[in-house]
Symmetry: C2
Subunit: 608 residues, 2 copies
């Protein structure tokens, strides 16, 4: 990575400005301070109704642990380190074993003090000055200096909280966005750490830096008004040290704020995500062109082509996720490609392929799925399923904009797919005679969750530093719905400007789901068993794009993806046609760069 | 992976027979039972000198935990699972979250009981019968059945230990290798688990299956005669249950035996290791041919070429270790290529390259380093350093055979390099005048550790399932020597038949080591400062092969590596010459397959 001009890159590739992380830090500062300010306001109003114009919070000290050096089991095999995502979002630091402190005034990077011998094995040891310049930190300290640094910060801010009016003005004399008072608060000083539930994995983020173990931890949220007295648990008994005596580690306030910061992307993040989605698109096209339609190729070879194209050409060293390269019946396995099913099938000439692969660049992810026939020609059996999924994407693009519920988008995709399945006779609406019950509408079938038989996953998810990016079910967001299909939706939020999401409708023929539906008295009568059986074992189709919800109210979504999508586009590319095509035969897919003459993929890597 | 005919493979590639793992299990059984038998003998002799022909051990129950499903921090990002190495060696099981029980009679695989929903996401749930066939297990149980299964084994073996004479004969009536008695021992029954130090990482293997937590653990080795009474710690108080009452978890006996089993390879392992070394050799050749000598290429692109060739052509999904692709001065950084230095330099036309990369196939590793000029032509400055390292390899091949000390091989390589450096005038022997002290021999300079200034790492290491394979410094092996260079040697053992090791001499110009040596009054006078300064910043050369110590006393080592090594070979290949060349201009390198007409690399992957 190069940082000479304040950017990160690998090779002659996209330059990610250091400023991206500065903007992220400022975003967190603003939101956290605003939260603290309003909480203090509330608290002060509660205590002191006659004095509600003189409010202060006690400032912010955030401490975050970076990812630790990995190793494989007990061995010295070290997988390539990938920074923890929250830490990356705030710092852009690519080395393991670091810690950061973020206050209103400073961001401090703490690094391990490496022995001289490290240089022999790992290369020149960067000085603190090197790293300060590389990452734009206000200060770089060694990990063993963390404690004394924190003590100094606590002491100075404790002292200053009784004389903070001037300190908390900017250098040019402007007041900060929160108000100040001239008397100290009596509540303990808080250190904000990150702890909270990842609603995709079900795991809790809880990487608390070891130096904080001596402090008690809060057991309630900062603004939990029901219980005003500070409750704390753990840590050593409060000691004699004045400033340390009055400190608690707050592990509740930061998480929802920091996660929410990541939900909407800054312009610099959007540009990077568009880039990584473009290179992922080009790589999918490269894979399509290099599929051998004669039955000599294996699924994993597609994965290898994708990895190589994105790494060789665009510096994507690791992928966003394990490639899913399913052909034939494997196309119906949603997360095919794992160690137990390692893309290990031969690609037969009549197979249909479902390739779900994404590059990562500078820790920002893309996530694209293409489906196509291995031999490059759509059959009469495959075409209607493919078109059904493509139409579902278009249905979503017609409605996805700020203010729209993602749950509604999901249901619209399901409705579109069911409508297509109705046309090919796989489902029916009933009402043919008195015994058949009343005729249903597509919307009623959606509510009966018939769509989840064919699309048992959510329509899409936030994407950013993580492929399944955070913030799907934060507090105060619409909750997860416990119904088939909907329960898999990774968020049910209302779309907001600058969210970035995948749109990935799919239609699959999965034995055990078909069996359940056919055995279900409520659903079975709306399935045409013969047509279902005709498609059993046929695999499935998924089309996945990355879209951006633009900032303007009422403006439609923008599709960052640049893949061939219509049947004629896919057949054209697989026959060796040029891509991008410089004409847009499906503007309803909202691929903004399809006819942009400045967008040009790098050629095939050398192979001799 | 395919198992239809009792083998594992990916694609149309090398088929690893299931039998490999059966042979491994039998090897452990034989060695562990032999150990237990001899320990009982000793113990019985100690207690009961008049009865030393009627000895029994209490049988073997080994329980091993497989690797657990990985995830990246708190997210649902799952890196590709790679089985833990000991578990792989015994089972070949590629799925996570398994456990094995190995007794004299049985090997039992315990698998997680997966919910039906798993099939939607991960594919058809394999039945116990499926897995029994796939892995050749005697029984497959669910993890929740582990406890009852273990209880049954303990109960039956406790019962049988008083009537085991017939049980412990083979079906054809032969006695097993240990002797039997007709009275039970009074010592507690032991369950053998793995715990011990990995001497490469400094970390302790300690993956004890959770179900064993209730048993006390031993705190001494099985045959530690100083303290005959069983000492145990941890676990619940001993209960009423007769057979459970008399059980301890032995975490000391198994480790050195199992690690030692992995040190020497079976014929099936050797064939697989030769294969993975061959494909790694071909990939290095592919990389050399595709180096762009015009300064447009970056180091990481070589990594990408290597990965792609080995995966696309040979099904090597993950690499043995992170690729080290250092050019110019980076060639002197021993483990260059990590996240902090991600092979991110442009390859300049006059750079010399040091590429250390290895494929892994079915969890067996290779590890090869090639060094060469980026433009394909050896300069007069580079040639003598390159030749010095090649000559050091040859010096090792001339002596490496059963019975020879690896430490002596290391010193021979150092001596060879110093001899070459003497010839180019970088070092001197002293003794020019009275003030210069006595003239030294090369061997004396080796003992002064002058060689470690230029080669600060060990000559090579065991290789197998781990790149740095286990067993380097087991108890009863020659200890690590705490001297420069030698302290980095990963083993100091006497070579034994069927060991597989890397031979990787190197010569580097590393600033801080040169500075230290130049400032060292003992070493400085044997360095020619001007010549040293001429090479400062020049990078380095390493040549690394994988060799096999053959079974016959006195027979020379065999080189599995098939890379171009002589200067003319490297120049020929980089100019597009055919490889392997079908003639051997350097038989002293002992590359056995160099002129084998049945060995033919797959061609370049498609790229259009």
């Amino acid at each position: 990575m190069n940082n000479n001009k304040g950017f990160f890159s690998l090779g002659d590739n996209y330059r990610v400005p250091l400023e991206l992380f500065q903007i992220n830090r400022d975003k967190l500062r603003t939101r956290l301070l605003s939260k603290l300010s309003s909480s203090f306001n509330n608290e002060n109003n509660h205590h002191n109704h006659d004095n509600n114009n003189n409010i202060d919070n006690d400032g912010m000290i955030v401490i975050l642990q970076g990812g630790l050096s990995p190793s494989r089991y007990d061995t010295d095999h070290e997988p390539i380190f990938r920074q923890e995502s929250y830490f990356w979002w705030l710092t852009g630091v690519k080395e393991p074993d670091c810690t950061m402190i973020l206050t209103e005034q400073e961001w401090i990077l703490a690094i391990p003090h490496l022995p001289p011998d490290y240089a022999t094995v790992m290369g020149k040891i960067k000085t603190r000055t090197d790293l300060q310049q590389e990452y734009g930190a206000d200060r770089v300290i060694y990990t063993h200096e963390l404690e004394s640094t924190l003590d100094t910060i606590l002491l100075s801010s404790t002292t200053s909280s009784s004389s903070s009016s001037s300190d908390q003005q900017n250098e040019d004399g402007e007041n900060n966005s929160f108000e100040t008072i001239s008397t100290p608060t009596t509540r303990p000083r808080r250190i904000y750490v990150l702890k909270g539930l990842n609603t995709d994995s079900g795991m809790v983020y809880d990487m608390i830096p070891p130096l904080l173990e001596k402090y008690p931890r809060t057991i309630k949220r900062y603004d939990d008004e029901e219980d005003e007295e500070e409750e704390a648990t753990g840590g050593e008994p409060l000691g004699q040290d004045h400033h340390r005596q009055a400190v608690v580690v707050d592990e509740h306030t930061l998480f929802p704020i920091l996660a929410e910061c990541r939900v909407t992307k800054s312009p610099l993040e959007l540009a990077l995500m568009e880039h990584v989605t473009q290179i992922t698109s080009f790589a999918h096209t490269y894979v399509m062109r290099n599929i051998q339609p004669d039955g000599t190729m294996w699924e994993y070879q597609a994965e290898s082509l994708f990895r190589h194209y994105t790494y060789y050409n665009y510096g994507s060293r690791i992928q966003s996720y394990t490639s899913i390269c399913g052909c034939g019946p494997n196309a119906a396995i949603l997360h095919y490609g794992h160690a137990g099913e390692p893309n290990s099938r031969r690609i037969l000439p009549d197979d249909n392929c479902l390739f779900d692969m994404g590059a990562e660049y500078q820790c920002y992810a893309s996530d694209i799925t293409c489906s196509f026939p291995a031999n490059g020609k759509f059959s009469t059996k495959y075409s209607p399923i493919y078109q059904a999924v493509l139409d579902a994407q278009i249905a979503v693009y017609q409605m996805a904009k700020p203010g729209i519920s993602w749950m509604d988008c999901h249901k619209a995709a399901e409705a579109s797919i069911l409508q297509s399945l109705l046309q090919i006779g796989m489902i029916r609406l009933g009402g043919d005679d008195d015994n058949d019950g009343p005729r249903k509408t597509i919307e009623e079938l959606v509510e009966m969750r018939l769509g989840a038989v064919f699309m048992p996953h959510g329509l899409g998810h936030f994407i950013g530093i993580d492929t399944h990016d955070v913030g799907g079910y934060l507090p105060d967001c619409p909750p997860r719905i416990q119904q088939p299909g909907l329960v898999k939706l990774r968020t049910a939020r209302i779309l907001e400007p600058n969210m970035v999401l995948t749109v990935e409708p799919g239609c699959y023929f999965i034995d055990h789901l078909l069996d359940s539906a056919l055995a279900d008295p409520l659903l079975s009568k709306y399935l045409c068993h013969e047509v279902v059986e005709e498609y059993r074992g046929y695999g499935g189709v998924r089309l996945e794009d990355v879209i951006w919800i633009p900032p303007t109210e009422g403006e439609s979504c923008v599709n960052f993806t640049l893949c061939p999508r219509t049947i004629s586009e896919v057949e054209y590319v697989m026959a060796g046609g040029k891509w991008p095509p410089m004409k847009d035969e499906a503007p309803e897919l909202r691929r903004i760069r399809l006819t942009d003459t400045t967008v040009s993929p790098l050629g095939p890597p050398p192979s001799k």
